[in-house]
Symmetry: C2
Subunit: 163 residues, 2 copies
DNA sequence: TTGCTAATGTTATAATGTTGCAAATTTCAC
DNA sequence: GTGAAATTTGCAACATTATAACATTAGCAA
């Protein structure tokens, strides 16, 4: 088992962010997509927490940067980053998080801790295939699959009532 | 296979709504919960389409009813209905839909058609257990599971590009 | 340069959801 | 029944999230 997946574990976060940015640059280059300063900055901000960040949180930091940005700036950057699989939107939180499997095609599943807000993205082939099977039984053709699990992460599970 | 699940199939929709309301009354009675006129009307409106309905859509119909309602009226009714498992919120659409398994404990999965907007709620034990297994491998304790699949339903699948 | 496309700036507004408090209604013990 | 307590509703204001529309600028190729 994996008692201490990345977001829950102490790690060199600056390096972790730097690596994500390096990978992002490479992915964009491969696709002839321009990772402009604003887009890169947004990606960096998102990576600086393992917690999901709202669009207006990002906007606030950009404002601190001295960047006089309006909502469309952020949403456009987020659209771009999602398009290239660099960030995911968590629908149940209206927030965004860095993709830990950027580049690789994957159907993610998110474990969202209600207590510490950390989010772990998993590639869960078993889940994906179960979803596809269930959809196929209804002759439904899946296009986009959202799987978000709220609950308590290993570090927080003890703090909570066990009814 | 099931080529024609309820929402895709022509059926006596008035009866279908009426049955949902009857069941709701019974469930509320069992829980000593009050299905007040407003709550019942909101549930009825939601059931009158198999398509997800936004809170402000509901609000608009209440206004046509002559009910001078404000957003909290609708959201409170929706909270109540969700609490007793009578409706579900579809996070990826910010919309609500009647629960087809009210009363029974279940972890739903939603098949959302991008073309006709119908939503089919499935009880998918295979999916639920795959999710629980994946979560357990990370020592994560699930609390609430959201599974929403966008794509094309059997009736609409032919109309769409097949890249 | 010129001209094209992609990206950004800017203003306004739409869509979704919440807080807080007062008034009305229902419940329930007496 | 009556009156206190709890639940539900009305209502106004506000908070948050997201988009539309149009002008401007940057990057790049002929």
């Amino acid at each position: 088992m994996s008692p201490s997946a990345l977001p829950y574990r102490p790690h060199n976060h600056d390096a972790c962010v730097a690596q994500a940015l390096t990978e992002a640059r490479s992915i964009c280059q491969q696709h002839n997509a321009r990772l402009t300063p604003t887009r890169e900055r947004v990606l960096e901000l998102i990576w600086q927490s393992h917690k999901p960040l709202g669009a207006y949180d990002i906007l606030a930091v950009l404002a601190e940067d001295g960047h006089n940005a309006a909502p469309p700036t952020v949403y456009r950057a987020l659209d771009f980053l999602q398009q290239y699989g660099l960030v995911h939107r968590i629908a149940s939180l209206n927030a965004f998080i860095g993709c830990t499997h950027a580049g690789k095609s994957h159907s993610g599943m998110f474990l969202i801790c209600r207590s510490c807000s950390n989010v772990l993205e998993l590639t869960a082939p078993g889940v994906a295939s179960a979803v596809n099977t269930a959809a196929a039984e209804e002759s439904f053709r899946p296009d986009d699959v959202t799987i978000e699990v709220s609950g308590y992460c290993p570090g927080c599970t003890s703090d909570t009532p066990h009814d």
